[in-house]
């Protein structure tokens, strides 16, 4: 009986891991596309970026130009990929109505979310602030990432997530963009990147 119980628990654990990895397949496929060596280590900021950031960047900004008497989308995802109806659907499904913070405290990435094994997790508040403290104790130069959860768009045809990509040398955790991916030959592949409209 004990053996059966153990097998059940182990199978449940494995199943939950594979579900997590499937949900995050676009992020895992993106990391795979970086062609990292098995010996490489990457650093990931433990807190997830709020989905609201993804939703806002996706929408971007539209300005009215009187010279041509038209509204022009100046930031965000361009039409036809962007359309108001599908964006509203995305918003109602994925918006975080209660937490407005950029990073969500308590909602952490863990090793079971990723296929890549060599990950150092760091809390956002522990990550050094450039320009404020000038001495850092990182012994090596790692690539550093921060991700939001994956949002699926237009009946799962597209996957979108927010990313910050820097290194322990640069420590630029401000630059924020969304990656838009679609499946090509069974792999989620990036085909567009859209910034947050702040130029640094």
């Amino acid at each position: 009986m004990k053996k059966v119980l153990c097998l059940f628990i182990i199978s449940q654990l494995l199943f939950s891991c594979s579900v997590n990895k499937d949900l995050n397949a676009p992020i895992n496929d993106y990391i795979s596309s970086l062609n990292l060596k098995d010996s490489d280590k990457i650093m990931i900021i433990q807190e997830k970026i709020n989905n609201n950031v993804t939703i806002d960047i996706f929408k971007g900004k539209t300005f009215y130009y009187s010279g041509i008497n038209k509204y022009v989308k100046v930031e965000g995802v361009d039409k036809p990929l962007y359309d108001e109806k599908n964006w509203e659907k995305m918003k109602s499904k994925y918006e975080n109505k209660h937490i407005k913070d950029h990073w969500i405290k308590g909602d952490y990435w863990t090793l079971k979310d990723f296929k890549f094994p060599n990950i150092i997790f760091i809390k956002q508040e522990k990550f050094p602030n450039p320009g404020k403290y000038e001495k850092f104790d990182f012994q090596e130069n790692y690539k550093v990432f921060s991700f939001s959860d994956v949002i699926y768009y237009k009946h799962n045809k597209y996957a979108v997530f927010t990313i910050k990509s820097t290194t322990t040398d640069y420590k630029d955790t401000d630059t924020t963009s969304i990656l838009i991916l679609t499946k090509i030959k069974g792999k989620w592949t990036v085909f567009g990147e859209v910034g947050d409209g702040i130029y640094r």
Binding site: F63, S66, E75, E193, G195
Partner: protein, 443 residues
């Protein structure tokens, strides 16, 4: 109950009196400072030989008593008893009336930079502005209606070639319209001078409204909320002689189409950011919560980087307003991103790549001039330290990684230079790539 009411009323009156007296005091102090600056500018102007006084459009007397301050620029009208006009004596029967103003910018070293702004108008009341010229302290034409002047092919006045025209300046009687010739000068073809020029004959112009103070100011870049140190740095950069950088400042600062506001504030972790707020409106935030030990040279490089973003944003707005792709003729990467939409990365990446391809040397030259006070001659390259700083501003962009692969000596040198000016300390001490800051501290 009544006692409590009276106490509250008394306290309110006292607080409002104190608050108002403080703000009145601030205004008074500001006025005293402004008057002192105007007095110094007048004294310096009167006591020194300034080529600008010989300008053919320096007509009348500076009215220092009616000088005003706008955006850190002192504006002094030149007044004369009668309106003055210019015309081609032999061929042009339509005179152009002009009025001139001194625009004086206080420099960081407490000297003054004098410019002459000349408005040409087809009517005696100066209601219809056709064009303006801006001349620098050396009496060189630096802006023709907000654009860098094309070098006119002029010979010397004595050449008397067939292409010469005789121009005259007239005082005009306001009531009778009678003209009195004040002086004449020759305008000839051939040669390469870009000093005083006859007014061009067409284009542009106001819509019949009298000139406001704001319209008389050459520099519309709003820096009233910028801290004193970066404000002084910006003032110095605005008079950079590098053509590309001067063109950027001229486009953004010389007309009312674009509004660039530069403030000190919270720019997150970045040293500075630029945001397009609405069509033709750009806000630059220079971080004053971090990077407090950075040198002036580092902040100058931040300002040039951000002002170039604002310039690119103005091109994007030009394109969005006109749908004319020719806007990007000189900027192929921006063309790919905004017209072809074939550029693979984000908009910020495209702007950084264009900056890398087109402006690194110009930014380097402007930084060298800022640091040394000596301009880099046309055709010469700026020193490596300054181009390294210009590249340093692009170090988070993909183009930087392609150009300077990880682990190379060049990359380390650039990053050490950037870090040394950012922190104000020597970086990489004892290594071949040691870099010591050359910029002065801001505080």
């Amino acid at each position: 109950m009544n006692k409590i009411f009276y106490k509250i009323a008394f306290a309110s009156i006292l607080v409002s009196f104190l608050v108002n007296s403080c703000s009145t005091e601030d205004l008074k102090n500001e006025n005293y400072e402004n008057i002192a600056a105007i007095n110094k500018a007048e004294e310096y102007f009167n006591k020194n030989v300034i080529k600008l006084k010989d300008n053919i459009y320096f007509s009348g007397t500076p009215d220092w008593k009616n000088a005003s301050f706008k955006n850190d620029t002192i504006l002094v009208p030149l007044v004369s008893d009668n309106p003055v006009s210019v015309k081609d004596i032999n061929n042009w029967d339509k005179p152009l009336y002009f009025n001139s103003h001194l625009l004086i910018i206080k420099k960081y070293d407490n000297t003054f930079d004098y410019n002459l702004k000349v408005y040409f108008s087809s009517d005696v009341m100066s209601l219809n502005i056709n064009r303006y010229h801006l001349y620098d302290i050396e009496n060189r034409l630096t802006s023709d209606n907000g654009k860098k002047p094309i070098k006119s092919k002029k010979l010397t006045i004595t050449s008397k070639s067939n292409a010469c025209e005789l121009w005259g300046t007239y005082a005009v009687d306001r009531e009778t319209g009678e003209e009195r010739l004040l002086y004449t000068w020759w305008q000839c073809d051939g040669g390469t001078r870009t000093d005083e020029q006859a007014p061009p004959d067409g284009g542009g112009g106001g819509e019949g409204a009298p000139l406001s103070d704001a319209e008389l100011i050459e520099d519309y870049i709003n820096d009233t909320e910028l801290d004193p140190c970066p404000k002084a740095i910006l003032a110095q950069l605005k008079i950079a002689s590098n053509c590309d950088i001067a063109n950027i400042f001229t486009k953004l600062g010389a007309n009312t189409v674009y509004n660039v506001t530069i403030v000190s504030g919270n720019a997150g972790n970045a040293p500075a950011t630029t945001i397009p707020e609405s069509p033709n409106n750009y806000k630059v935030i220079l971080n004053n919560e971090r990077y407090t030990s950075s040198t002036q040279l580092y902040k100058a490089s931040n300002l040039l980087h951000e002002i170039t973003h604002a310039f690119f944003m103005s091109l994007v707005d030009d394109y969005n307003s006109s749908e004319n792709p020719a806007v990007f003729n000189e900027f192929p990467i921006l063309f790919q991103k905004y017209v072809d939409t074939k550029y693979p990365g984000g908009k910020a990446d495209a702007q950084h790549e264009e900056m890398a391809n087109t402006y690194v040397e110009s930014i380097g030259a402007a930084l060298q001039e800022f640091q040394t006070g000596v301009s880099v001659s046309s055709g010469e390259k700026p020193d490596q330290i300054y181009t390294d700083l210009a590249w340093g501003g692009l170090s988070a962009a993909p183009i930087y990684g392609k150009k300077f692969p990880e682990g190379t000596a060049e990359r380390l040198r650039i990053e050490n230079r950037l870090a040394s000016e950012q922190t104000g300390y020597t970086i990489g001490a004892g290594t071949p790539q040691q870099q010591t800051p050359i910029g002065k501290p801001c505080n």
